[in-house]
Symmetry: C2
């Protein structure tokens, strides 16, 4: 299995792959603790920042709009989200978290242990260095 990438970059990519795997597991576990699927938790987390039209949720999640219908249906059936009419355009439905949904979204974020465990290994200075490197990588 030869590769065209230099060993250093290759190792960084592998390490990032490991981070991705751990983060993903943590996210799914946190969602499951609230009896939510990963997709449901992602939509709820998005709406907790700002209510938005169904179509915009699909754009943010990079999936087809038709999928959002079912996910919001299930969140609505649990009383975590509601659909509101958009006064400006009667075709649009705005999805918004209920108070219960907002609480769940906050709980969900706080129960993401990922921050505590791997990050606790680093000093504040190291975290600053890491932050700056990640910002540069992501063009932020």
């Amino acid at each position: 299995m030869p590769s065209r990438m230099d060993p250093l970059s290759l190792e960084v990519v592998e390490l990032i792959g490991t981070v991705v795997g751990r983060y993903y597991e943590e996210y799914e576990r946190a969602a499951a603790e609230h009896s939510l699927t990963g997709a449901q938790a992602r939509v709820l987390g998005l709406l907790a920042l700002e209510p938005m039209p169904m179509r915009q949720i699909a754009q943010k999640l990079k999936c087809e709009p038709s999928n959002i219908t079912g996910i919001v249906d299930r969140l609505e059936a649990r009383g975590l989200v509601e659909r509101r009419p958009d006064p400006a355009d009667r075709r649009v439905k705005l999805a918004a978290p209920t108070p219960d949904g907002l609480t769940t979204a906050t709980d969900l974020r706080d129960s993401l242990n990922f921050a505590r465990e791997p990050l606790a290994e680093l000093s504040a200075d190291e975290r600053t260095v890491l932050r700056d490197l990640l910002r540069r990588m992501l063009g932020a």
Copy 2:
């Protein structure tokens, strides 16, 4: 939305979340280019490192063994993987990549652009720092 985490750690976690999102998209895109689902690509990538029993694949992917049957079925139908008997235990089936599967796995890894784009922003020294910080975080 109050949080109990300090702003620095919070930002690092958010940045890591962004990295996770981009990496995941890249992975799915690379898999789709080869007409594979993400799960199929992950199994193929695993077997490219080393053939292994069905049950061990499930352990590595942290899912139920029954799911692996279908994924390997589909990879086998495409001629990318084959099931071999284990001489030591006739209950066991070893899943192994075919030559075609090995080629696909290598192509797949090389077409993971994630390495080139975000990482290209960093100098070799910065990549070394990033590698060491990630190693520390992951306890490697």
